[in-house]
């Protein structure tokens, strides 16, 4: 029998606000335990939450960009449960009237499949604290620095059929939220994390199977592998005549497997009810129009524009717009006068190459557009040859180093003096008469060898085109000499 995997995602995204959702403590990552806290976010008796206006703005922007319906009258609700990472013993979230419903996210997978993922809802909520077990004390330490960091939770319909689709969606989501500037979506810092709901069913069946939930997956790799593992596990269970149990499972990166989490003492009954401490939100058309008008140019729009204005091929524009920081970088280089095609080639080749080699994202890169523009200019004017320029690029990339200083220090300036090139050609011909003879007897390969010898003499700093021409000319002369 062939099986179909059905997946729905719940994605938690930390918003890039300066302060927490209900108090004015910083959201900065890190910091010593319990130093980004106040009576409000540590749940002191008598304290009250007051909503951060940027949280609403960011959530609405995300909703608009995901083509959702914005709830004009919305509210917060309390979700009640006991756990030491939740100092109030309730999380302020949204159940009954989430800020966004019914969004749509078009995706395209690397294998070319295009489909639309439906967003069930997007809501605002607060993050919980961090618990770290201290083996020396045999106690768990509660750090409330992350308590109250604003999150949006984006819940999809069960529209995915493969890990590839899930990753394509997450990449799209990440890019969209980064373009909006509402989140940095750093998975390694936990600012984008996923719960995967997965079930299997016989291909062609309309009915959904029993699903399991895998919590807090924080890398694309973990997501892909856990989906593969869990799909296999469920199919095997069913084929053995057993049943899938609806449960929460934990993905273990080291063991490459999912494990049932110890079931909590009781059934989950969160007793949601409207948060009395926060007055409802009523969003006017003017407010939405204002945010709509302020939405930045998104990836698709940039792709179209790059094709139209710069004549770049679609492939290039997709690469350039994959990360907002990269598109910004590209646009800055063009604005500084670089040829768009040249800039695109450098970015897709060298910049992306360096980023991937160093495991960085574009927004973390220090290289300035000005440096790249300068390098391109040096190549264009013949002051550096392209191969040397690539070496210089690699040297200055990490710290946005000084190009001219590096070139000078390493004596890399292109030899443009025709006399020096001619001298080197003379020397090469004199030292390799056999090669000259070979060429004239029809061995084209000897040409390349001679060029190489000339470049070697000039320590690679000559313009390859000029050397080619000079060697060709000298060979022609020599041939003429033979003919005479």
């Amino acid at each position: 029998m062939t099986w179909e995997t059905v997946i729905g995602l719940e994605t938690h995204v930390e918003l890039a606000t300066k302060t927490k959702i209900f108090c004015s403590c910083t959201t900065a990552f890190g910091g010593e335990a319990n130093t980004h806290c106040c009576p409000v976010c540590t749940g002191m008796p008598g304290t009250l939450p007051v909503l951060n206006e940027s949280v609403l703005e960011f959530a609405v922007k995300a909703g608009l960009a995901l083509n959702g319906d914005i709830t004009r009258f919305c509210r917060f609700d309390r979700k009640n449960y006991f756990y030491p990472d939740l100092p109030k013993a309730y999380q302020i979230s949204q159940l009954y009237l989430p800020i966004v419903r019914d969004g749509r996210v078009p995706i395209r997978t690397p294998s070319g499949l295009e489909k639309v993922i439906r967003i069930h809802e997007l809501h605002m909520e607060e993050d919980a604290g961090k618990l770290v077990h201290d083996p020396w004390l045999d106690q768990t330490k509660c750090d409330y620095n992350r308590c109250g960091v604003p999150l949006i939770e984006i819940v999809t319909e069960p529209d995915f059929r493969s890990a590839e689709e899930v990753v394509a969606y997450l990449e799209k989501l990440r890019s969209t939220l980064q373009y909006l500037g509402v989140s940095d979506c750093k998975m390694q810092e936990g600012s984008l994390r996923c719960d995967v709901n997965l079930s299997v069913r016989p291909a062609g069946s309309e009915e959904l199977g029993t699903r399991t939930e895998m919590k807090n997956l924080n890398s694309f790799k973990a997501i892909s592998r856990s989906i593969a593992y869990e799909t296999r596990r469920q199919i095997e269970l069913i084929e053995e005549g057993k049943r899938v149990i609806q449960e929460t499972r934990r993905w273990d990166d080291n063991k490459d497997a999912t494990f049932a989490m110890r079931s909590k003492e009781n059934a989950q009954d969160y007793r949601y009810f409207p948060e009395p401490d926060i007055p409802p939100l009523e969003l006017s058309e003017e407010y939405l129009d204002h945010l709509r008008a302020g939405l930045p140019e998104m990836a698709e729009e940039k792709m179209t524009r790059y094709q139209a204005d710069y004549g770049l091929p679609e492939y290039d524009t997709q690469m350039l717009t994959g990360q907002k920081a990269l598109a910004d970088f590209f646009e800055s280089t063009v604005a500084l006068g670089a040829d768009p095609k040249q800039a695109a080639n450098w970015i897709m080749g060298q910049v992306l190459g360096q980023l991937s080699a160093r495991g960085l994202e574009a927004k973390d890169m220090k290289l300035s557009p000005r440096t790249l523009v300068h390098l391109i200019e040096l190549v264009r004017t013949g002051k550096l040859n392209r191969n040397t320029a690539v070496k210089v690029f690699e040297a200055v990339f990490a710290d946005d180093g000084d190009v001219d200083g590096y070139v000078k220090a390493h004596g890399l300036e292109q030899v443009s003096d025709p006399g020096a090139v001619a001298g080197a050609v003379e020397a090469a011909f004199a030292a390799n008469p056999q090669s000259v003879a070979d060429f004239h007897s029809g061995k084209e390969k000897a040409f390349g060898f001679l060029v190489g010898q000339v470049m070697r003499q000039l320590k690679g700093r000559a313009d390859p085109k000029a050397v080619n021409e000079a060697v060709r000319k000298k060979l022609d002369e020599a041939k003429c000499g033979l003919d005479k």
Binding site: P45, G46, T47, P84
Partner: protein, 485 residues
Amino acid sequence: MKNTPLCALTALELGAALHGGEVSPADVLEAARERIRACQPENNAFITVTANSVPAGEPADGPLAGVPMALKDNICTRGVMTSCASKMLGGFQPPYDATVAEKLTRAGAVCLGKLNMDEFAMGSTSETSFYGAVKNPWDLTRAPGGSSGGAAAAVAAGEIWYAIGSDTGGSIRQPASYCGVTGMKPTYGTVSRYGLIAYASSLDQMGPIARSAADCAAVLDLIQGKDPRDGTSLEGSYGTLLRSLTGEVGGLKIGLPAQCFGDGLDPEVRRAVLAAADALRSRGAVVEEFSLPVMDYVVPTYYIIACAEASSNLSRFDGVKYGWRAEGYEDLTDLYHRTRTEGFGEEVKRRILLGTFVLSTGYYDAYYKKALQAKAVIRKAYDEAFQKYDVLLTPVAPSTAPKLGESLSDPLKMYLSDIYTVPLNLAGLPGISVPCGFDSQGLPIGAQLIGPALGDGVILNAAHAFQLETDFHRQTPARKGGAAV
């Protein structure tokens, strides 16, 4: 002045005497200390008495500057134990001051301590306190009412000139009534709740208990106002309540809801409250009876909403961040269970269980949601009443102060006695309890004036008019430990 003991003055009178230099701040403080020393062993009104000295430097300006007062023990005070009269918060010293405490300090108030109450403000008698029951200064075998029983008792006994209490379902007005003092729950939102340890957030409101309506107006002038730390607090015109008291009630339309004068009301209370209506009529008010059928639904609606919110608000008391932590626990879950089971008293646990029930899967719609709908109906009924009337007049409680120990055995009966006060909390409306007579046993009776939303000034003025006409509010209990006044 010379012949009147300081403790018989109203807060405004004392403020004026201080301002005029007739008494010194040190004398006032010593007089208050002496009364507290004498009364505390009898009535147990305080949980904590703070060691205050006369504030150094230039005294603050204002009608109540230098007047000693105290706060109910569910109002946070930095570094001073705020226990909610619960074992659960024994020793809890908040790291911050409630907005109300800050405002009063700025206005030159001299805070003498924290007042006893029903545990977590849940009760109508101030008997559920972990620190022992409060006793009614008019009859030490009786309850002072609750939950702000310590506040009402301390003001009635002349230990302080005013107190700040909290009122979720009548917790200021009912003890004020039982103790023969004036207590007001202002419009929801007009006093910031920041720093009030929540019982039911949508119903809780702080307000004054004092010796006169004018005192209440002066206190509200100090504590009302929008607070950036409380999103539910309201804008308003503040500092004008006291000035607006004219005592003029000519043409004021007063409605008497028939359902508040029917079965279950003690005849002596009925007679006193109707006499209050007559007193206002004699000053030119127009008094009329009308029907308010929603009264049948106010108690169940109130207890569903209040308990639901309480079950959530009191979840944070889990032995992790502050307060009591049980010993001998085996693991985290056991720590939670033991701490909460040992830390909360019976009534608090009953309400948490009730609140958890009405929010739980399968019962939310039938109880909690239904109660929110009933609340909308109740609100609408009051809105309609205020289309016709400027204020409403009702009893505060069906009877006078009960004997200690009589009420707790039957919680449902105790809940039912809140019928006249809870609808105001549901509808967010202001209400003031004014002394309007005594029963045959000499126990005080209170009348409640109810205003429309933000009609705080209207009911204060009506109460003021009544107090110009009568002297019930100037009566004080004969007591030991100090000259009868």
